[in-house]
């Protein structure tokens, strides 16, 4: 077991525990903070996979921008800790059972699929995750989707302002 394996297991456990805490926390602000930890763990996974650009973008966009937006909205609303009425126990149990069955089924499928047996993921090698090849691909093959996404941002901005002004 080398360093990369240990880092993988550590980051995975960190991500899963934090994701579970997002669900368990009663206070929405604590949920947001736990979700930021999940994003940092996922960024660590990206660095482990040598996808450095995506790791930085994940931290800047998700942990930096989106989660601050969530925090702003929660603090703007001034939601009380116990304002959220709890669902009935039966509904909660049903949700957990449904999610657990989905997970069990998918893991069973993954264990048996022949195409992915003995396939290795390239860790800390490979140059496709660096900025130079990604930028080349983005501005040559994917330049039209890139420009369309700017229009999408403009429409999202206009939509958010219009919805918020009512």
């Amino acid at each position: 077991m080398n360093t990369v394996d240990i880092l993988f297991y550590l980051l995975s456990a960190f991500a899963i525990v934090s994701a579970t805490m997002v669900l368990i926390s009663k206070n929405p602000i604590h949920s947001v903070l736990w979700l930021i930890l999940v994003f940092f763990a996922i960024s660590g996974h990206y660095i482990l996979l040598n996808a450095q650009f995506l790791a930085i973008v994940n931290i800047i966009v998700y942990a930096g921008a989106i989660m601050v937006l969530f925090l702003f909205v929660i603090m703007l609303m001034n939601i009380k800790k116990d304002a959220e009425p709890q669902k009935q126990l039966l509904v909660k149990l049903t949700g957990v059972i449904a999610g657990g069955s989905l997970l069990t089924l998918l893991i069973a499928v993954v264990k048996q699929t022949a195409q992915i047996q003995n396939k290795q993921v390239l860790l800390k090698e490979g140059t496709i995750g660096l900025i130079h090849p990604l930028g080349k691909a983005l501005f040559s093959d994917y330049v039209i989707p890139f420009e369309i996404s700017s229009v999408l941002f403009l429409s999202a901005m206009v939509g958010a302002v219009i919805i918020g002004k009512k």
Binding site: I16, L23, F53, A98
Partner: protein, 111 residues
């Protein structure tokens, strides 16, 4: 590292997101669980891209195979950012109308 470990990790994160959507009533938490599911899918896409890249490297030394998945992840992040801005605006509007973020109040379309 075998690809199966990555698949199982991402499936676990995705299922946690599904359970959150099914069990919580706070609209903001439901929205955050959707973000969690998006991130699980992103991580799986990057893992598959590196798997494919490793297989392509055995044939050609300077290949860029598998770079499309990372561009896709970038676009997923772009769309997620746009989606969050509109979604949170809708949640704020809902809070102004009902003074609550409980999703069970949103059943007016039922009748």
């Amino acid at each position: 590292m075998s690809i199966q470990y990555y698949i199982i990790l991402c499936l676990t994160l995705f299922s946690i997101g599904v359970v959150g959507v099914l069990t919580r009533r706070n609209a903001i938490i439901v929205f955050m669980c959707i973000e969690l599911m998006l991130n699980a899918v992103n991580l799986l896409l990057v893992a598959f891209s590196k798997m494919y890249h490793g297989m392509a490297l055995q044939n050609a030394a300077d290949t860029t195979a598998g770079i499309d998945a990372q561009i896709f992840v970038f676009f997923i992040m772009v769309v997620a950012a746009a989606e969050v801005s509109v979604g949170l605006a809708i949640i704020v509007m809902m809070y102004r109308n009902t003074h609550s973020v409980d999703i069970n109040f949103l059943n007016r379309l039922k009748n």
